[in-house]
Symmetry: C2
Subunit: 335 residues, 2 copies
């Protein structure tokens, strides 16, 4: 593999000129730049990131932390971030810190120390120690899924979204509404789920409808958890006429449970989810759609801006949600 020196020799210039020419830096005549570029291409030259990184102190790499990759939501956010980073010429180093063990090790060793220019945390709730540890890295930080001090933060209005969903049910005349939440404290310990819970209670309070505690179920943010939660709610002596699930996946699980019980949706029980999962359309699930890819993309952009400007100022962006009404809460094309 050709080095910059070989290119320089072949082009009859110095390595400094090659470096300048290839990086579009000023101070090189157009003629020389062209020649260098041609020679470099012919020799199939590619820069050594290690050498360049060592010389400049910048790696052109961004570390991205996610709790999972195999769930639709995280995959989407990640995809959004990846696209932005890649087209800006940054590489993405992926760290999956789902399990406690890997997570502990990650924050202890910080494998990305000295090898990334910035860090992006995707919907992963950080303890104070963990976020401090990241701040110690002294690189721009980004966060998706809530507000974080010292991080460029991107989130959605979870409370507002939740209100949208619950009010929709209330407007349909429902008063007996159950809720399937993520867990207590939810598995991810993020502000988002909590906000959605609060929204439920607030919307109910708005209409002065008391919340029935036995209609609150824990769905663990998974399909099967949603199904179990629904079954538990159905075991109560009273049956709700509507359900607000805090994620679409839990809503899918709940719908399966209802189907097994031969309970008609929305006739007997209406259901609304949250996320805008790709399967929600097919399933006819009404849901609060959030711009998932965009959340990752925006966070990445904020990070890049900070990187370019070398500023330490972080920014916050709140992205919009939208209620999409489908057959699970209205109409009767049965589910």
């Amino acid at each position: 593999m050709a080095t910059i020196e070989e290119v320089a020799r072949a082009a009859g210039v110095s390595t400094a000129t090659v470096s300048r020419a290839l990086r579009q830096q000023p101070g090189v005549s157009e003629r020389t730049r062209q020649r260098v570029r041609t020679v470099a291409e012919e020799m199939n030259y590619s820069i050594s990131r290690s050498a360049s990184g060592l010389a400049t102190g910048r790696t052109r790499r961004v570390g991205v932390l996610v709790p999972f990759v195999s769930r639709w939501f995280f995959g989407q956010v990640l995809a959004g971030a990846e696209e932005v980073l890649r087209s800006a010429g940054y590489d993405l180093m992926l760290y999956v810190v789902g399990d406690e063990e890997g997570r502990e090790r990650f924050f202890r060793e910080l494998p990305l120390r000295r090898s990334v220019d910035a860090v992006l945390v995707l919907t992963l709730s950080l303890s104070t120690e963990e976020s401090d540890r990241l701040r110690e890295l002294d690189v721009p930080l980004g966060f998706v899924g809530g507000r974080m001090d010292g991080f460029n933060s991107v989130w959605i209005d979870d409370h507002g979204g939740g209100m949208l969903a619950v009010r929709h049910l209330l407007n349909q005349g429902h008063t007996d509404i159950a809720m399937i939440h993520g867990g207590a404290p939810d598995a991810l310990n993020l502000p988002a789920p909590h906000e959605r819970c609060t929204a439920f209670r607030d919307a109910m309070a708005e209409h002065e409808i008391p919340v029935r505690e036995s209609w609150l179920g824990t769905g663990d943010f998974s399909v099967s958890g949603g199904r179990r939660a629904m079954n538990r709610i159905l075991a109560d002596e009273l049956r709700p006429t509507a359900v607000f699930a805090m994620s679409d996946e839990m809503a899918f699980g709940a719908m399966h449970a209802l189907r097994n019980h031969k309970i008609h949706v929305p006739g007997e029980i209406a259901i609304v989810g949250f996320d805008g999962h790709e399967m929600s359309e097919c399933s006819g699930l009404s849901t609060v759609v959030q711009p998932v890819r965009q959340e990752g993309g925006t966070a990445a952009k904020l990070l890049l801006e900070q990187l370019e400007q070398g500023s330490t100022e972080t920014r916050d962006v709140v992205l919009p949600t939208e209620l999409v009404v489908r057959s699970s809460t209205t109409g009767d094309d049965s589910m």
Copy 2:
């Protein structure tokens, strides 16, 4: 951030000794090693990968190519690979090469050139030019989803798995069987889908049952595609009594279509999928389960072995599949 030299000075030894001590290399007394390690830890030292990479030519990074991240299957394979790589101390650089444009650019620029020790390609069909380009990198290569020359390859017996599925339907007495495949040529252009198609025809031939072409649908490997395919099949003048979907996601879509048509599963139409998607259990979908995470993990392990041994010999591993029978093909707990 402390450098090796500062650590050396603080420990009263040379940088060479620090380097040896920290990398568990021989030729350092246990006493010195301990001291160095303590000092390094106290100073919160962490190696500069750039410098180390420049000196050794090895980066301890593996590039991973995927077509998508937001689909369950790819996420799982990726997660399996990530886990193995991380616990071996390798970082994972993620490249999503889904769209044509990004893909073209990726193979033209090869951003991972000189910055990874190995490359892992996850279920991404490569053209001859593309795989040649990767081989030029002259690093160990891995492939999941089929056999590839020059790549450590991991795949499943797609033909056998397909036979499992179709024979299961045949054994239930079905003769009028439809198939929903990925596309023609399928979107990913991988051997796997093709094998499953062939299996369908072979199993049918085994029982001397002719294949009805209007019962073959293209589902694009997506839920909505599966639904469309099912609708198209239902538009035929004859109606099948069973469906083999080449992926669980397409099967889910087909089940939705059937439900909308108020067609009972499995009473009127039975359905079997392929993958072992996490939602298949909840949906009561019979399916051919493949060990998804393990496919990624195994490929990563093969890569690491090659890396450690410095050998050029690649290996092939075929992983097993298993038919899991649920209510979509048997029993009557309605879907």
